[in-house]
């Protein structure tokens, strides 16, 4: 497994650890500063990612189904490729009813902080609406925007920007709120 893939898995684990607090990035987890209210200070619910060969595992969802879709500059419309990934996500979510999801919308760094927050929200909502249209119950889905606060790639070139303009479906155990 590549280092990048391992990092993604680690991030996914951290995400599960703070299923009630989607700000797992900012929360005082490993390497964080901690402090009052930080999720890292509390108990950590360990959930196995499972074997990517097991179709009911989170690892399978993340790697085989695909946990993210990408967007064009300033856009929140879903490309044919994105729709195909999201169709598979919806099927998986309807089969594995024990999971809820938070859909994170992100933007690249080419834009103001405020605009990118709104743009990330638009992208997350586009994914949410598509999943609902495919039959996923709305009460299992929430959205959040990180704007340009949490790039996954850090270079300042289109190759990185393209990967940062994303909406990621982050699973957690629990049938919704």
């Amino acid at each position: 497994m590549s280092l990048a893939a391992k990092s993604l898995l680690l991030i996914a684990v951290l995400g599960l650890a703070a299923c009630n607090n989607p700000d797992r990035y900012g929360a005082g987890g490993p390497g964080g500063a901690g402090g009052p209210g930080g999720a890292g200070a509390g108990g950590i619910d360990t959930t196995g990612l499972g074997d990517p060969n097991n179709p009911t595992s989170i690892a399978y969802f993340n790697q085989r189904v695909g946990d993210r879709v990408l967007f064009a500059v300033d856009q929140s419309t879903l490309s044919p490729e994105a729709r195909s990934i999201l169709t598979a996500q919806a099927q998986w979510l309807m089969t594995n009813t024990g999971y809820a999801a938070i859909i994170e919308g992100h933007a690249d760094e080419q834009g103001t902080r405020e605009y990118n927050l709104a743009l990330g929200a638009r992208r997350a909502a586009a994914v949410q609406n598509f999943l609902i249209s495919q039959g996923v119950p709305a009460n299992r889905l929430r959205t959040i925007s990180y704007g340009k606060e949490r790039p996954i790639e850090v270079c300042s070139e289109e190759a990185c920007y393209a990967k940062n303009r994303r909406a990621v479906t982050v699973l957690s155990v629990g049938a919704g709120s």
Partner: protein
């Protein structure tokens, strides 16, 4: 002999910094100054006299006064090595010929005394040419020693104000976001500092993302966006007690980009529901939530006019973000930005004469100003990423975030005059972003 003081005033008039200066009507500038270049006025600020127990305070206060004045780009301090005569007593006579001889246009004398934790600072600023005290520039400030920097800033504010005709801005603070950590996992915490980067104090820890803090018009509260609840929500912080209060949640929504109304009683902000972002107002005294825009496009970054009657904001209803003005009661708004590119984060000047903004065009970011009808657009900066201007209390200087590119990219704070002159970095301990200026302190 050329009189640089008048020349400075004339130059300020020429660059629109001073509306009118009738006294100079018969006295046109005798030095032709190129675009954006003003020859700084030579001044002398001999170290303030220790009138008892002041010690380091006298030296440090003099240093801050000089730093404030030189920091504007309008003044050049003459070093003590050039002095012909010394100031040995605050109330003694002054050999103005000696100060004329070294070309000092303004002489500032001062004295400091300390008793227990009380400090007294007094000063006089002289027009060396006339041998007269500048009108109103002979004052005394007293308080606790803890506030010594503020007194220095007040001295400099008076001098700046007397010579430029503008109100001062040195005795002010700036709230900002202190950053650490790598680009893909930035840690952010709120901090406040003097306008010049000194006296940093942290207001939150870095356990959740915090964005875009703004001072209340009284400077006693700060409003910002926090991920403390897990989702972006508007939070109100009392500066004195550091008590935080998250504004009541509208279920299923995200709130961000808050600003106070000029009377401090209302906030305007963006509320996102179902992917669509509009502008709302909330009365802090319990008047409820009012929706001000209603469009399928993104409406964000609202900022009140100083009289509270209008709101400038950003919308992408035409496909790219542009700047609009609407009545404070809401509405569609009138577009005011007209140039090429994308416009965002408009902020109304506290003097009401300009709107500052972020502009993105041809792969570069700019901080700019325009008149409130969108005319006279002027770009003041250019870099890989400049954004989020905030006005100094006198409406003549802007501070903003500049971020460098690439994996090691970091944010820093910069300031620039509304003429585009005097671009400089504000010293901070580490990376910093999202500055917001306080009002002038009382």
């Amino acid at each position: 002999m050329v009189r640089p003081m008048k020349t400075l005033l004339a130059a300020l008039v020429a660059f629109g910094l001073v509306g009118a200066a009738p006294a100079l009507a018969q006295d046109p500038p005798r030095i032709v100054i190129g675009p954006g270049v003003i020859e700084p006025m030579p001044i002398a600020v001999p170290t303030f006299i220790d009138e008892g127990g002041a010690g380091e305070y006298a030296r440090e206060i003099s240093r801050v006064v000089i730093s404030d004045l030189e920091g504007t780009g309008f003044f050049r301090n003459i070093g003590e090595e050039a002095y012909i005569s010394r100031i040995s007593s605050f109330d003694g006579g002054i050999a103005f010929e000696d100060w004329k001889a070294i070309n000092a246009q303004v002489l500032v004398t001062g004295a400091v005394s300390v008793s227990g934790d009380r400090i007294t600072v007094k000063f006089r600023a002289y027009d060396v040419f006339n041998g007269q005290t500048l009108e109103g520039a002979a004052l005394q400030f007293a308080g606790t020693t803890q506030g010594w920097r503020r007194m220095a800033h007040k001295v400099a504010d008076v001098i700046y104000s007397k010579i430029t005709g503008e109100s001062g801005y040195f005795d002010s603070r700036v709230v900002f976001v202190s950053e650490s950590g790598p680009k893909n996992n930035r840690l952010k915490r709120l901090a406040v500092m003097d306008y010049d980067g000194a006296n940093v104090a942290y207001l939150t820890d870095s356990s959740s993302i915090v964005l875009a803090p703004r001072f209340s018009p009284q400077g006693d509260r700060i409003i910002y966006t926090s991920y403390e609840t897990g989702f972006p929500r508007i939070t109100l912080l009392d500066v004195g007690s550091l008590r935080r209060q998250t504004l009541e949640e509208q279920p299923g929504t995200m709130t961000f980009a808050p600003r106070f109304s000029p009377d401090g009683g209302t906030i305007v902000f963006s509320l996102e529901r179902g992917g669509n972002t509009d502008i709302y107002a909330l009365s802090l005294s319990g008047g409820g939530l009012r929706q001000l825009t209603n469009a399928p496009s993104i409406e964000t970054a609202p900022s009140f006019s100083p009289d509270g009657s209008q709101i400038v904001f950003e919308s992408d209803r035409t496909g790219t973000p542009q700047i609009y003005v609407m009545p404070a009661s809401g509405g569609e708004g009138t577009r005011i930005s007209g140039g090429e590119g994308r416009y965002g984060t408009p902020v109304w000047s506290p003097r009401g004469d300009y709107i500052a903004f972020t502009k993105q065009n041809a792969g570069r970011f700019h901080i700019g100003v325009m008149r409130t009808d969108g005319s006279e657009e002027r770009l003041l900066t250019a870099s890989f990423l400049d954004e989020g201007p905030t006005w100094a209390p006198n409406g003549r200087v802007l501070m903003f975030t500049r971020e460098t590119s690439g994996a090691g990219g970091q944010a820093t704070l910069w300031s620039v005059d509304i003429t585009g002159r005097n671009l400089k970095q504000i010293p901070t301990d580490g990376p910093a972003s999202d500055p917001a200026w306080s009002p002038l302190l009382p």
